[in-house]
């Protein structure tokens, strides 16, 4: 079960013709897929497209009714390979993932399907994780479209345009026998808006039809001589067909004015930001009306030569707004104009930053520079709305003062104690090289743990240390999450290590979910899932590929974790060593348990709730405990002792009682300030009786001691 339930959104997928759909961009895409008569959908979760996967996962009933097969693929490569169904049959299919990371994983299959060509429309929906809030390397999916020759759609970021481009994308794919990529930036995926829906359409040719009437076409298989033919088909047939369709369907838009010596070419996804910048420059109104000619590329690959030439021909200079680098579009536009001997000046990266997200502020600066240089008159007659420029110096000074808030483990996260233990082991046996993976556990590289050297990709934690398969007095530790393990790690990490006889250590964090992407189920999840096979233990899998040294440790037992880690690092036993660190993701566990507990308390059942606390008078403000934990609920507050300078540790009310604070206090021999409190709800008679006796006895002694202390009181109440 994913972190979020989409029960309400699933209902929105049912709405019919003329009704207004309200919701997130990525959910609008989901609805658009159903409106397009899609036969199958696959993908791998990850921000910003997780919700597409999650909502479809919750919508099995509707999908079944429409004969749509949905698959939570094992990886992006598996998802991309699904598109093979559209090679021989008129089946529409869509796959989705986070890009560029997912596209990297998928590109083997993508290149093959792009070479074969498709009969049924094939749509690849990529969530372009670029700019603010991104968690991955900053690259462009554009390169993949170019190298494999898939068409790339980049719609304007409003729900109507996005939905329209999904539907058109299938048509374009079929018209040109080419898979089509639809690129959505993070904010567009999450944008809340509305569009007028259509009825869902069940595919006229179903998967069953295909399976019962299989057809094959030797020329679609990527092997000589077909592979050579495919390349020629791409440039001679599919490309011209696509250009023809794009022109005819008017997928690109000529917006703004039609006169003037300057114009702007913009990627569709940046259109709204551009319009806001023009509005602030006094050159457009809130409805996007402007005298400046704008050529909006809802299709950024391929470029339509006639349209480009026509737009540029009568202009002195054109501003090319293209986010990220290299500037493929700018180069292509220049090449088109050069070949046509058109002398229009194309100003792109010369006016705008080469790298980084194009925010409103960035575009406003670029526009101003462009107009100053190429059409100063435009600015002189503009009437910008009032806007006060913030004081840059003051801002900078403040920015230096505002603390960073790196992502970290959630309150009570079971991964935290693994790294606490690792820190303690480093203190004993010295520093070691740590190869990280992708997942929540990668937060170990940030304070307070500062553990980890590299991260090479999902499931590649152990492979990332494979060069260190060498004689040494210190072993390396690699980390892998259960998500990464099933995605790629079993073969590329574990299999690789066994085959090459590594002597190093792998820690697999087995928290029961693909947690970082939103808590989706995976093969080794403990939960029962109606539509998926779960409860396939990781230990069985790694033993199956030939690992003998396998230990399963409960993550919260820090002392035990520390012992096993140390053993793995120092044992005389040669060969690959795997520690499976197990405990359920706390976010998911709380989501499941909290309502049950609340209900039990309401029902009058006896419930004991655990949480932790710190005594301020024995805490000396060194914060060792925080450096070993970093739990959000373990924080600081003013020292109540007027003689002490440093703030004391404090456990706030979000504490879920995971016990790591106490375990750390023991394992690291910290101060005795931590205490564990157990709060009893609906106590039994026996509870009350014992508490009564204890309170009476303890209270008596406490009052006696208090009386004694009163003899030395300085007058203030203690």
């Amino acid at each position: 079960m994913a972190e979020r339930s989409f029960a309400k959104e699933v209902e929105d997928l049912r709405i019919g013709d003329g009704e207004v759909f309200r919701g997130e961009g990525i959910l609008a895409v989901t609805k658009a897929l159903l409106q397009s008569g899609v036969s199958y959908v696959g993908g791998y979760q990850g921000a910003p497209i997780s919700h597409l996967m999650d909502v479809l996962s919750d919508a099995q009933e509707i999908l079944g009714g429409l004969n749509v097969h949905f698959e939570a693929s094992a990886s992006e490569a598996a998802a991309a390979a699904m598109l093979a169904a559209s090679v021989n049959y008129p089946l529409r299919g869509a796959v989705t993932w986070k890009s560029t990371v997912g596209t990297n994983v998928a590109s083997d299959a993508l290149a093959n399907v792009a070479s074969s060509g498709v009969k049924g429309g094939a749509l690849v929906i990529v969530g372009e994780d670029y700019g603010e809030g991104s968690s991955i390397m900053q690259e462009r999916s554009h390169a993949f479209a170019m190298k494999s020759q898939m068409w790339l759609l980049d719609p304007r970021p409003n729900l109507t345009s996005i939905v329209d481009m999904v539907e058109r994308g299938f048509e374009l794919s079929e018209a040109s026998n080419t898979p089509v990529m639809l690129e959505l930036r993070i904010r567009a995926c999450h944008v809340y808006g509305s569009f007028v829906a259509k009825d869902n359409v069940a595919p006229s040719f179903t998967l069953r039809d295909a399976m019962e009437n299989p057809t094959r076409d030797y020329s679609r298989v990527v092997l000589p001589p077909s592979n050579y033919v495919h390349e020629i088909e791409k440039v001679e047939n599919r490309w011209p067909a696509a250009v023809e369709f794009i022109k005819r369907a008017k997928l690109n838009e000529f917006l703004g004015g039609h006169k003037g010596k300057v114009g702007i070419i913009v990627q569709g996804g940046l259109y709204n930001t551009l319009m806001r910048a023009l509005e602030l420059a006094g050159l457009a109104d809130a409805f996007g009306e402007t005298a400046i000619p704008i050529y909006c590329l809802n299709v950024t690959y391929p470029l339509i030569e006639d349209e480009v030439k026509g737009f540029c021909l009568d202009k002195k200079a054109v501003l090319m707004i293209e986010e990220g680098q290299p500037e493929y579009l700018e180069q292509a536009v220049n090449s088109i104009l050069r070949n046509a001997d058109i002398q229009t000046k194309i100003a792109g990266k010369a006016m705008l930053p080469r790298a980084g997200e194009y925010t409103g502020e960035v575009l406003l600066k670029g526009l101003t520079r462009f107009f100053e240089e190429h059409a100063p008159r435009v600015l002189s007659i503009a009437q910008p709305p009032e806007r006060s420029e913030p004081d840059i110096e003051e801002q900078r000074a403040l920015a230096a003062q505002v603390p960073q808030r790196p992502a970290g483990f959630c309150t009570g996260c079971p991964e935290r104690p693994v790294f606490s233990a690792m820190k303690l082991v480093q203190k004993e046996i010295g520093a070691f090289h740590v190869s990280c993976d992708i997942g929540c556990h990668l937060f170990s590289i940030l304070p307070p743990f500062d553990i980890g050297n590299t991260t090479m990709g999902y499931g590649l934690g152990w492979s990332g240390a494979s060069a260190f398969n060498s004689e040494s007095s210190q072993r390396t530790i690699s980390i892998m999450g259960d998500g990464g393990f099933w995605h790629n790690g079993l073969a590329s990490g574990v299999g690789n290590a066994v085959f090459n006889k590594t002597d190093n250590v792998l820690v697999i964090i087995d928290n029961g979910y693909s947690a970082a992407t939103g808590g989706q189920d995976i093969l080794s999840s403990r939960a029962l899932n109606k539509t998926k096979s779960t409860n396939n233990p990781i230990a069985k899998a790694v033993r199956g590929v030939g690992v003998d040294w396998v230990r399963e440790v409960h993550t919260y037992h820090i002392a035990e974790m520390k012992r096993v880690l140390k053993e793995a690092m120092t044992t005389a036993a040669k060969g690959p060593k795997i520690i499976i660190a197990q405990a359920e993701c706390m976010l998911n566990r709380q989501r499941r348990e909290r309502p049950l507990r609340a209900q039990a308390i309401r029902n009058g059942e006896r419930v004991a709730r655990t949480r932790f606390g710190v005594d301020p008078d024995t805490c000396t403000g060194d914060h060792s405990c925080i450096r070993l934990s970093g739990c959000p609920s373990l924080t600081i507050r003013d020292n109540p002792d007027p003689l002490r300078d440093d703030p004391v540790a404090y456990v706030d009310n979000d504490c879920v009682g995971c016990g790591v604070c106490g375990e750390n206090a023991h394992a690291a021999i910290l101060c005795p300030s931590f205490y564990r409190a157990e709060l009893i709800y609906n106590p039994s008679f026996w509870d009350r009786f014992r508490a009564g006796v204890r309170n009476a006895v303890i209270g008596f002694f406490q009052r006696r001691a208090e009386k004694r202390r009163l003899k030395y009181t300085f007058g203030e109440s203690a």
Partner: protein
């Protein structure tokens, strides 16, 4: 073009504060009040404890109808063009300011409470950023600034901060939407409606400047006349010290008397006597008795060093039982079991033994090992149950033998050395003497923490000669102390000490 424009709202929040819920409410609110609403965010990994910006634009539907086409709304705020900024925490208000979201047309609604960032929390001393500068700049920059502790308001109502902030948005009047529509929005959402409405009300009132500022600590803090007869002689002696030092010395006295009785208080005053005389001779009056005050403060902390007896005493007090019930938010009369995490080692045990015996044990690796087998593991002691309580109560009662213990002698010797260092430095450099006094700050905690601090302290003390030769010895010593608090493995301190000694050699 004085055309209609969108109302732009940015929410700067932390993961888990309900920023998404607040954004959804504002969207619904806008739609109910006749606006076209668009909202975006970039949650991603920031959901996991990071800082996130939610951005909303509201555009009057009537204007769009009049025009016959929808507006083009932006997906991210442009600096200087945000009408309302809602910051769910003080540093997030700072971040909004630093990003230029706040201008003279902005209504800034900020919660004054702090959620400390990890960088602030892991400092070995006090790493907290100062929120004062942010408030100052906010007042200067924002068109309107609403500042209140929305977290407290939310907690009072048993809701999440988003509800209080939603209330503050209503109360600020920054949106031309009536309060009833706000409340209807909360009701329609249908989750924790009563709590959310309570928090909404409190937030709304806070924004209108009607916050019920809870009167904290109004009791008169000085009722000296209530002092017990046993401590009167100490107070009389205290009165003969310069008045500016009275407050600190009184607190110090309180601590040491509480620690080991009246005679120990007398020892405290006696130890300060020399410092006072010297302070006077070297211009203490002019300097507001800085040396006396510093020494009084740190001497009290040193004399009340933490040992097993002290911990057992503090853990078993009635006042502590009241406090932990408050801290864990136990309901009136609710049963709470508390257990302590104790990890006594041979060292801590020996601290309690008479000096000769302790030395013998510590010298013999056999005895030490045997002891360690007994002690060297973590234990959970339940103070709210009779066995645990009496165990700790028994340990606390060992106070009578503390002054003969190994640790007491050790600390007394260290204190004497420290005091003589202070005394011998005053004549030469007053500020340096104050910094020597402040070195005690390094000695905190128990177990490994204490050992680490003591090692830093010793390394600095043995470099005092080099410090003295610096052009500004006080600053140099302060720098060393800060370096010692920079990292756990002492790297920063070692580097600084190296620089110091190599400068001396050059």
């Amino acid at each position: 073009m004085s055309e209609p424009r969108a109302i732009k709202i940015a929410i700067n929040a932390l993961g888990g504060q309900g920023g998404g819920v607040l954004a959804n409410w504002i969207v619904r609110l806008g739609e109910k009040a006749g606006y076209i609403a668009q909202a975006t965010s970039v949650p991603g990994v920031a959901q996991r404890t990071g800082a996130t910006v939610y951005y909303i634009e509201l555009f009057p539907e009537a204007a769009a109808q009049a025009k016959g086409k929808p507006p083009v709304l932006a997906l991210m705020p442009v600096p200087g063009d945000v009408d309302i900024v809602i910051a769910s925490e003080m540093m997030e208000a700072g971040r909004a300011l630093a990003r230029g979201f706040v201008s003279n047309k902005t209504t800034l609604i900020a919660s004054s409470h702090r959620v400390y960032a990890i960088g602030e929390k892991i400092a070995m001393g006090d790493g907290r950023e100062n929120a004062g500068d942010i408030e100052k700049l906010a007042r200067k920059t924002a068109g309107r600034f609403v500042l209140a502790d929305m977290d407290a308001a939310a907690k009072e109502a048993g809701a999440v901060i988003s509800a209080a902030l939603f209330g503050a948005l209503a109360g600020s009047g920054a949106l031309p939407i009536g309060r009833a529509v706000f409340e209807e929005t909360i009701r329609e959402a249908g989750r924790s409606v009563d709590e959310n409405l309570d928090a909404f009300n409190l937030g709304c009132r806070a924004a209108q400047g009607q916050a019920s500022t809870a009167a904290a600590g109004t009791a008169d803090p000085r009722r000296a006349s209530d002092a017990a007869p046993a401590v009167q002689p100490l107070l009389q002696r205290l009165a003969r010290f310069p008045a500016p030092a009275h407050y600190i010395m009184r607190e110090g006295l309180k601590k040491v008397v509480d620690y080991q009785g009246v005679a120990y208080g007398a020892l405290y005053l006696e130890r300060l006597q020399d410092v006072r005389t010297l302070d006077e001779r070297f211009g203490g009056e002019r300097r507001d008795w800085a040396l006396l005050k510093a020494t009084a403060k740190y001497l009290a902390l040193w004399m009340a060093y933490d040992d097993v007896i002290r911990v057992a005493d503090l853990k078993t007090r009635g006042s502590r039982f009241v406090r932990f019930r408050e801290d864990v938010k136990a309901a009136e009369g609710q049963i709470v079991h508390v257990s302590e995490y104790m990890h006594p080692r041979a060292e801590e045990f020996c601290d309690l033994l008479p000096a000769g015996l302790a030395e013998a044990v510590l010298k013999s690796s056999f005895l030490r090992g045997a002891l360690q087998m007994f002690l060297g593991k973590g234990r959970r002691v339940s103070t709210t149950k009779l066995r645990g309580f009496f165990l700790l109560n028994g340990l606390a009662s060992l106070r009578f033998m503390r002054r003969w213990s190994f640790r007491y002698r050790l600390e007394a010797r260290r204190i004497d050395d420290w005091l003589s260092m202070i005394v011998s430095a005053v004549g030469e450099n007053y500020a340096l003497a104050c910094e020597i006094a402040a070195l005690q700050r390094l000695l905190k905690g128990y177990g490994e923490t204490h050992e680490r601090g003591l090692a830093s302290y010793n390394r600095i003390v043995s470099a005092l000669d080099a410090v003295r030769r610096e052009p500004d010895p006080a600053a140099a010593l302060k720098g060393l102390c800060e370096a010692a608090l920079q990292d756990e493995d002492g790297g920063a301190l070692a580097a600084r000490l190296d620089a110091l000694t190599s400068a001396m050699a050059a």
